[in-house]
Amino acid sequence: MDHLRPPIFSVDIHPDGTKFATGGQGQDSGKVVIWNMSPVLQEDDEKDENIPKMLCQMDNHLACVNCVRWSNSGMYLASGGDDKLIMVWKRATYIGPSTVFGSSGKLANVEQWRCVSILRNHSGDVMDVAWSPHDAWLASCSVDNTVVIWNAVKFPEILATLRGHSGLVKGLTWDPVGKYIASQADDRSLKVWRTLDWQLETSITKPFDECGGTTHVLRLSWSPDGHYLVSAHAMNNSGPTAQIIEREGWKTNMDFVGHRKAVTVVVSSQGTEGDGLQDSLTCLKRPLVVIHELFDKSIMDISWTLNGLGILVCSMDGSVAFLDFSQDELGDPLSEEEKSRIHQSTYGKSLAIMTEAQLSTAVIENPEMLKYQRRQQQQQLDQKSASTRETGSATSVAGVVNGESLEDIRKNLLKKQVETRTADGRRRITPLCIAQLDTGDFSTAFFNSIPLSGSLAGTMLSSHSSPQLLPLDSSTPNSFGASKPCTEPVVAASARPAGDSVNKDSMNATSTPAALSPSVLTTPSKIEPMKAFDSRFTERSKATPGAPALTSVTPTAMERLKEQNLVKELRPRDLLESSSDSDEKVPLTKPSSLSKRKLELEVETVEKKKKGRPRKDSRLMPVSLSVQSPATLTAEKEAMCLSAPALALKLPIPGPQRAFTLQVSSDPSMYIEVENEVTVVGGVKLSRLKCNREGKEWETVLTSRILTAAGSCDVVCVACEKRMLSVFSTCGRRLLSPILLPSPISTLHCTGSYVMALTAAATLSVWDVHRQVVVVKEESLHSILAGSDMTVSQILLTQHGIPVMNLSDGKAYCFNPSLSTWNLVSDKQDSLAQCADFRSSLPSQDAMLCSGPLAIIQGRTSNSGRQAARLFSVPHVVQQETTLAYLENQVAAALTLQSSHEYRHWLLLYARYLVNEGFEYRLREICKDLLGPVHYSTGSQWESTVVGLRKRELLKELLPVIGQNLRFQRLFTECQEQLDILRDK
């Protein structure tokens, strides 16, 4: 019993004890498998080949499944995995067999379990999930440090997100009476939360202080009587223990000892005499059973059997073992009633164990509640009768879709299959629906399926779906209902000439609703089923070549509409609703206010649109129609299209202001004040520029209005109207005669003696004012902004005059003047950064905080270490590669930015990583470059410095790092000797 040996991370026995689920790693995905329990319990069943062992396997999870848990009712199974998702599964009845495609040995699934909800919220791997005792809540915890409480009645609603852990949350358990939930995390704490307000009740850290290292999971558990909470991975006198926390005052006096290594899983025996077990363990301070050498690798999860006398244990080594105990080994198990009695006597009332029997005796205190209860009972009754009918028909239908066997369908599939061509001439196949997602709402499910004809469909429709499916909004019964019978046949008629073999189906199906609709009108109900119908009609009608059939139909339909005096009743809402049902009706309803000639025009446009993306447009049309005539709309659209490509990149221009102040730096305090058009001299308005630096002030006047200003400790520059740029020294002396920019200024920036001007036409220039040279000459941003509607969100100019553009899509480019290229130096979405794990190479925590332009661009939130921990399931090789790539990127980026400090930091880090992981070739190449030619030759191209650092000095720093790995002792001595030679020279 294994998944062919990939690790199994979780096991859980179904509450009825007949099956159990395991979760773990599949071949290229996560895997959840449901197994039959009886072959495990009875040897005879194991040998009997007729008894299936594996009931269902689901490989929908994209990554390893860390946890599987049955709901207490046994109806649902929740699974959480490394793909950050929680999936909730429910048993479904399907027509036809199901296999897991692509898995070796195509095993048919005996039972069908369907994913009914996918819960997306966690930003990291989901480590554990837990159903609350009353199944109303589902809790999940993740390496994103949070615990999320989901509303299990109304997925995917989130009731609360519990924040407070500062480490990866790796285990969850509910208090059996539902008052608390406890979570345990890598931050060496166990937190207990109240379910009343989802606030923290207590945080227990003491037993975990000594803990070193981390474990994959921290599965803690509450004892069934609720008195004790047993945690995993605690330490006592430097021995690993399972800490017991008392409910009263959350005291931590007792623990389970005896483990030699860290405890990862604790599961209180469910249904077992809680006291007996715990007494024997805690008072005697002896473990009840010692099981060892069972598995090759660590145990990941444990689940108790129904009778409390057996456990299933799963392990990293990919196997599950069943351990059977006898009654006198463990003590007498408690029955559910006894347990619930204990709960009631100790806690008054229990959220969890409201059994059927108790429910009937419970007093309903609220009349509303009584009503609700009655209704619920009624519904249950209805459901039951419906389900018996359903199962009745379903069994007879097995392998048969609308009177045909699956085999017949397959034979004729190619002939029957509806194939159309889209506007761009592509083939489009409408797939044949062979089975529906049957998750409760049988009627809707049934209606989506396409081949809905024949006797089966007929009986289904007339028996129980007809009373339920009626779609119409009760507020508009008349107008709507009346329009139905007339539009429906129209559609059918238009569809008829199109498909030939399909034809029969559509006729059958369409005639049914038409016949039904009159009876349907008065009953208010959900809108889905009808929509499903209509969407099918739209698909069908697409099979028709389109326009001719429709246009020929519309006038007659319109007349009929008119006859029925519908026209004036059509309010905008009706229009919307009706047209969203089917696009055929758009031309029908619209004519009410428009002339007939215009109608034809519209029909044409409808047709045109339909060819492209039919379904979207059917939704789009009503809106555009009700707002304005489509002709103008399309005209506008065309205009937009025309103008869009012609439009060159245009960056925002600062508007003229009367006055503004700009703080250049706070230390030394320096600010610039600008006052536009303050004085008039001889009819000419002058603008004043004032600069205050540590109390020393200077001012000057300019003849045109100042649009923007910038300054550094060395220069002050202002951009004026008429594309003029003026540069002043720190004392207010004009350094250059005004520069004429190619187009109006967008952004101005100064660093040191460098001035950067970004113009509205998206060209960038950088000048070194002191040396009076150009660094970047009117470089266009086209290459980095082209294609999409990105904008420059932030600009930066380094101390070395390297411009950096942070774009709105999270990427940052710097311009490399020597190569005249834009280089990508940072990408917020860079997955490499998230995968890279070089914590081991970090000299110390604070060394991470290396400041410089690269750090500014990339942001300080270097949580790479934390992110990398998510990847423990990724093969080491992959992580090595990503880390190497990431570090190399960083080194190169620091180099491009000419940030010597950061270059040194990342180079050392990179070298350290190479040393730790043993990459000799790359390390050698670095050393060679840093060392250079030992014997001086004139023809050498070697530069002795890199970004202002002496390479040989860097190599000296590197040597002790290289020396750490004995494998590199040759390289170490080589470099050492050569450096010595150089020094002696």
């Binding site: 994209l62 692509g102 397959r410 083939r427 489009r428």
Partner: protein
């Protein structure tokens, strides 16, 4: 999570002459209704050495896809023999069936195809210039090499 998963791919008419069209009956399952069409492609790998010889035999849009289990037959013409390197004409190659959603490939099913001369004599002494009319194709079996997640922006 994989919204769409392939349940089965059946090769119709197997083995078949080289020039006869490919016919795959594909059943797949979708857990939520898809807003847009799926795009399926059949790619014939002409030569293992280079992607240059890959021939996209056909691509087709499949939709609408409501939640549930669906089936369709994907038929595509046989590969153009003139685009296949002569050295790779006979032997084992691969046919890929890929599925993309919003331009993102997320399913790739591969089939090994064994092309060989039907005539035993020709099999022993293959002609210098491949004679495709004498070649039959035998599908050796499917593998599903990869399954990727689809990001559905919703």
């Amino acid at each position: 999570m994989a919204k769409v998963s392939v349940l089965n791919v059946a090769v119709l008419e197997n083995p078949s002459p080289f020039h006869s069209p490919f016919r795959f009956e594909i059943s797949f399952e979708c857990s939520e209704a898809l807003a847009d069409d799926l795009e399926w492609k059949i790619i014939y790998v002409g030569s293992a050495e280079s992607e240059e010889f890959d021939q996209i035999l056909d691509s087709v849009l499949v939709g609408p896809v409501p939640a549930g289990r669906h089936m369709f037959v994907f038929q595509a013409d046989a590969p153009n023999p003139s685009l296949i390197p002569e050295t790779d004409a006979v032997g084992v190659t691969v046919v890929l069936i890929t599925c993309t959603y919003h331009g993102q490939e997320f399913i790739r099913v591969g089939y090994y195809v064994n092309n060989e001369y039907l005539n035993p004599e020709l099999r022993e002494n293959p002609p210098m210039k491949p004679d495709f009319s004498q070649v039959g194709s035998l599908y050796l079996g499917g593998v599903q090499p990869c399954k990727l997640g689809v990001k559905v922006s919703s």
